[in-house]
């Protein structure tokens, strides 16, 4: 990781100066044979020896990876390389697939998420997810935002709350406004919050899905090719938004688009066919000076 690139990146992210000072400090960072490790104090998600099988087919092979907090980590690789499977194992969405079997360890802030007594609901409140296809609920824009917070009891909007006088419409309105502003959607929809979310454009729907994920105040946001179904203008809005989000959240994003990974991420993990994590490190280093021939071939388009 070179000093100048890190500073340039920090500038792009508009990070506070203290952040820029600490980020490039490589004293505690080590590059081992298996791959790059961030400063242990900054690790948000720590993956050890993670393997995932679908009905006996191995989708991920013994992945070791540390994801630093308040940064953008891109997962790239050809189709079927396991990058989406990896992403889905970070909030246990693979649990919803009966055929999937998971081995190894994933720790969030040092706490194992695959332990028996872990509450998946609690885990997913802290690790939010945005999917490839925008998937708003067939409800109004405001109700899309308020759905999860009201189920978690963060806001009271239901009929029973209203009858008991417990409803807090101002609080709910504030949450809707805050979430939509954080997802850079407020200015476009603030005059039609009660309209169906299905009437929004694809890019707006995807930003609504991001706003919906932010409304439960997660710490990590997983994004599975969030811009692949969108046009270039909508894509660029999402990319700007991701850069802003990294100031507060830990963003892990799967993308097919290598230029996108190079533009938006701080570190990049390259998965190749067979579910192997071949290389992981500083994004500029991966794209300019990859360690392995396979990664270089993939990045330069000779393979994959």
């Amino acid at each position: 990781m070179s000093e100048t690139t890190a500073e340039e990146q920090s500038e792009e992210r508009k990070q506070p100066p203290s952040k820029a000072d600490t980020a490039p400090m490589s004293a505690n960072e080590t590059v081992t044979a298996e791959g790059w490790r961030p400063d242990p104090a900054e690790v948000k998600v720590s993956v050890r020896d993670l393997s995932v099988y679908y009905n006996g087919d191995q989708a991920l092979r013994s992945i070791d990876m540390d994801i630093p907090e308040q940064s953008v980590t891109a997962l790239i690789g050809p189709s079927g390389c396991g990058k989406s499977t990896f992403l889905r194992s970070l909030n246990r969405m693979n649990d919803e697939i009966d055929a999937a079997r998971i081995e190894g360890s994933v720790a969030l802030d040092g706490q194992e998420i695959y332990d028996e007594d872990v509450d998946i609901v609690e885990l997913r409140r802290r690790v939010g997810m945005v999917f490839q296809q925008p998937n708003p609920f067939p409800k109004s824009i405001a109700d899309n935002i308020l759905y999860a917070p009201s189920k978690h009891g963060d806001v009271s909007t239901g009929l029973i709350d209203r009858l008991l006088g417990r409803a807090s419409p101002q609080e709910a309105d504030a949450l809707v406004e805050r979430s939509l502003k954080a997802a850079a959607l407020w200015d476009e929809v603030n005059d039609r919050l009660d309209d169906s979310a299905m009437g929004l454009s694809g890019g707006q729907q995807q930003r609504l899905c991001i706003a919906r994920a932010l409304a439960i105040d997660p710490e990590v946001i997983l994004m599975d090719e969030p811009a692949s179904a969108l046009d270039p203008v909508a894509t660029s809005k999402i990319e700007d938004l991701i850069a802003d989000l990294a100031e507060e959240y830990t963003v892990v994003i799967v993308t097919h688009n290598m230029q996108q990974a190079a533009r938006i991420s701080d570190q990049t993990a390259v998965f190749l066919t067979g579910g192997e994590l071949v290389e992981y490190g500083d994004t500029d280093q991966i794209f300019e000076n990859p360690q392995s021939q396979r990664v270089e071939d993939y990045i330069t388009g000779k393979f994959g």
Binding site: V121, Q133, N135, C209
Partner: protein, 291 residues
């Protein structure tokens, strides 16, 4: 180059037109029986309809002033159908939810198999079964027993309709909810069911309309009565049994009553169908953001 079709292209065009023509002919042939039934019933039965017909009781044809009205049969049919709905809607809908959302196991497979067998159950069998269990135990044919017999038929239909409707809800909607840390149960209650609501309602109403016209299971279970409705635990007149009894009687006046009852029954089923499908269409338009 000329734009008119020639040679092989002309042949293909002719072939396409012939095929479209054949499908139109098939459509007309399929509609003839439906049209014939509706026309015959309307032409014979509409004349019998009047306010009195709806509000008076049947009377003996010897009186020389017609066969009377069908008030008791209308009330009886409504009671039997309401009783049948009371049993079959909760059981069918909940079973459908179980099958689609939790049924990927041995119990689910067993329930699915049973449902498939039951949905092909000959309706007379439902009547015999309920006769030998409910009627024998209660000592008499009753509206209650008729409702139970009809619910035996309706439960598998409602189960299948519910399961199909839930199956149409995109996985993406469930994933969205689960990924927000909302539990499986709440996801089903607040995301899956509302999306499938129109389909569930439509399927349920169609199943209820279908059993409302059933005759065979009722012969064994509700019997018939010429008197006013006497409560759900006594012999009760229903439109379908009334049609069966009066149409096979030797009296012209009662034949008229049967035709009139046929119009009522078909009208009831038609209206239920139209209402169910309209509800669904409205709901779907609203969900897709066009309403």
């Amino acid at each position: 180059m000329a734009l008119e079709s020639t040679g092989r292209h002309r042949y293909r065009k002719v072939k396409a037109n012939v095929m479209v023509g054949l499908t139109v002919v098939a459509l007309v042939l399929a509609l003839i029986p439906l049209g014939a039934v509706l026309y015959l019933i309307a032409s014979k039965g509409l004349a019998a309809l009047s306010w009195d017909f709806l509000t008076t009781l049947p009377q003996a044809p010897m009186a020389g002033e017609g066969g009377g009205g069908v008030r008791n049969a209308i009330v009886g049919t409504v009671w039997v159908v309401v009783i049948a709905s009371g049993f079959s809607i909760p059981i069918g809908v909940l079973a459908g939810i179980y099958l689609n959302e939790f049924g990927d196991n041995r119990l689910g497979q067993a329930v699915r198999f049973t449902t498939e067998v039951l949905s092909g159950l000959p309706s007379i069998i439902a009547g015999v079964v309920v006769y030998s269990i409910v009627v024998v135990a209660m000592g008499d044919v009753t509206a209650f027993a008729g409702g139970v017999a009809l619910s035996l038929l309706a439960i598998p239909w409602i189960t299948v309709a519910t399961q199909d409707a839930l199956d149409l809800v995109p996985q993406a909607n469930r994933d969205a909810s689960l990924a927000l840390g909302v539990s499986r149960t709440e996801t089903i209650l607040f995301v899956v069911l509302p999306s499938a609501f129109g389909g569930v309602i439509t399927g349920t109403m169609l199943a209820v309309a279908r059993v409302a016209g059933e005759t065979a299971p009722l012969i064994w279970t509700v019997g018939f009565s010429k008197f006013a409705f006497h409560g759900p635990f006594s012999q009760t007149a229903t439109l379908s049994i009334l049609i069966y009894n009066y149409a096979t009687s030797p009296y012209e006046a009662w034949h008229q009553v049967a035709w009139g009852a046929a119009v009522l029954l078909v009208g009831l089923i038609l209206v239920t169908n139209v209402v169910a499908r309209t509800l669904w269409a409205l709901r779907r338009r609203k969900m897709e953001g066009r309403g």
